[in-house]
Symmetry: C2
Subunit: 320 residues, 2 copies
């Protein structure tokens, strides 16, 4: 059932012992939104905890501590989770059918929760969480400001992407005034590259291939590259935007080899293409400008599967 913000806030006020779930392979928005909600509920004297199936990257440590033990709860909230499967394999089984309220900004939300609060106009789930916090009458302190700013800045590529609205900018301004450590957050999230990442980036750039007269660019990151650079899969996220940034490219693809030999595909586009369509045809999904899917290896077959799908889309939409 879809509900509105006022209904979600009323429901929250009436609840206690609240388990908050971030999505698996957690990013700044799911963690920032979950912890901001946690601190706000605690400010109202409620018991709450944040759990996540996967261990967050250490760079997110300042947001808060994931509850790793038992937490006796009366209700479950999911933040930034478009589908029960995205909770992570173990959590899907455990909590997938038990989420009372899902707070999300993905238009593609599958409404797996009993109540769903979705605002696709929000650049980040954190924009919705901040509105909830205001409606709960909680003042955003520095911790909450750090969380909300992190979610908004990471989900917008630091205010760069098409999902940014004037509201996004004003919420960030407000969080700065509440003490969010923006410089440090932006430095950690956007301006820091590990030496292993630099090594991986060089190898990734070497793998760059262009298709369809330069309309599609593909970077492939293999297990060998991880070994040679000392990097790992989590660092590929920062590679994903590169192919699309090349002049003339309508669809940018980054393919990373998984330990099981399958390839995880990240697809990005500018204004021209809707990559969620291409990824849906390959069994995946996501946003218009940023989507993903998985395809079978080996490398050559995986590249062919993906470029065939991209070529078909480009042709059908008169982009080549």
């Amino acid at each position: 059932m879809r509900i509105d913000l006022a209904a979600a806030v009323e429901w929250l006020k009436s609840r206690d012992n609240i388990l908050i779930l971030a999505h698996g392979n957690p990013d700044g928005d799911t963690l920032g939104g979950s912890f901001a909600l946690l601190y706000s509920l605690e400010a109202l004297g409620k018991r709450a905890a944040v759990k996540c199936f996967d261990e967050p990257h250490s760079k997110f440590g300042y947001l808060g501590s994931i509850c790793s033990g038992d937490f006796a709860h009366d209700c479950v909230i999911a933040v930034d989770v478009a589908d029960a499967a995205l909770l992570g394999s173990g959590f899907k089984e455990m909590y997938g059918s038990k989420v009372d309220l899902c707070i999300d900004h993905h238009a593609s939300n599958r409404e797996f929760a009993a109540m769903t609060l979705v605002d696709p106009a929000a650049s980040a789930a954190c924009e919705i969480v901040l509105q909830i916090i205001r409606a709960l009458g909680v003042k955003a302190d520095k911790r909450i400001a750090d969380c909300i700013y992190t979610g908004i800045s990471t989900d917008t590529g630091c205010f760069r992407y098409a999902n940014v609205t004037p509201r996004t900018m004003r919420m960030a301004a407000e969080m700065m005034e509440e003490g969010a450590d923006c410089i440090r957050i932006n430095t950690v999230m956007f301006e820091t590259k590990t030496k292993t990442f630099i090594a991986l980036e060089k190898l990734a750039l070497d793998s760059l291939k262009m298709y369809f007269d330069g309309r599609c660019a593909v970077i492939t990151v293999t297990s060998d590259m991880f070994r040679e650079s000392g990097s790992d899969e989590r660092e590929v996220d920062a590679i994903a935007p590169i192919p699309r940034q090349i002049e003339g490219v309508a669809v940018g693809v980054t393919m990373r080899e998984r330990s099981d030999g399958r390839f995880k595909v990240s697809m990005r586009s500018g204004e021209e293409a809707d990559v969620s369509e291409i990824c849906a045809a390959l069994g995946g999904g996501g946003h218009r400008r940023a989507s993903g899917c998985e395809v079978a290896g080996p490398l050559e077959a995986a590249v062919k599967t993906v470029t065939d799908a991209v070529g078909k889309y480009l042709k059908e939409n008169s982009l080549i």
Copy 2:
């Protein structure tokens, strides 16, 4: 003479036939501020024109047209120009001592103009220009919004750097509401890499060397690399942030070979080092986190000159 915003606005109201000068090798802020001012003065029925010693990069074409012919003027304004020398060699001679009003956000402004309006708290000269436009009673239309947004976003690395304030974010929000084409501007300024740049970036990453236990990283871009990649000096600006982004680096250096065999040095730092000090010792200058200078070649000697100065600073400030 330093003047305040109200005095600058009163003076502007009383003037006509106004020549506006951007700085040489123009960036988004000097051009955005100059053209926003032009459109506002024209909206008040005044004659005005923008001139610049160097031809702007074609990506700035949407901001407006530089006046290349004669423009009979009664007064001269410089926007984002900290020193007469920055007008460019030819313009320094022609206009350096004839600027009536300089609008700038550099704390280092040399006050070469008869009247100087400086606000070092402004992330961009465009923040000051927008305040002038408001005080003039001109409504920011789409053209002005594009100009102001461009100046603010380019001078803050798209709202990423330490110079961003809540005011910066709110001004950007307002410009979005006035119709600024933010997505397209951000795509052009931050999300587009030419194929020649990608080729140059690979070569530049290959040149990366670390000094002083990883506290200083140096990238050198030689004339050979320009030839091999097909890129040119203007594309090096986007390389300059890379060395500083490496984990543990306090001072990041990018050195590009000029046609005369000298090296132009771009120095960047995070929170720890004040690179304007290091560059000043080498005859250059700039901001705390972003400065520049020039040193004599050949390559090995140039690198030694720069790393010696960096090492001295790091030692004196207990950063190594």
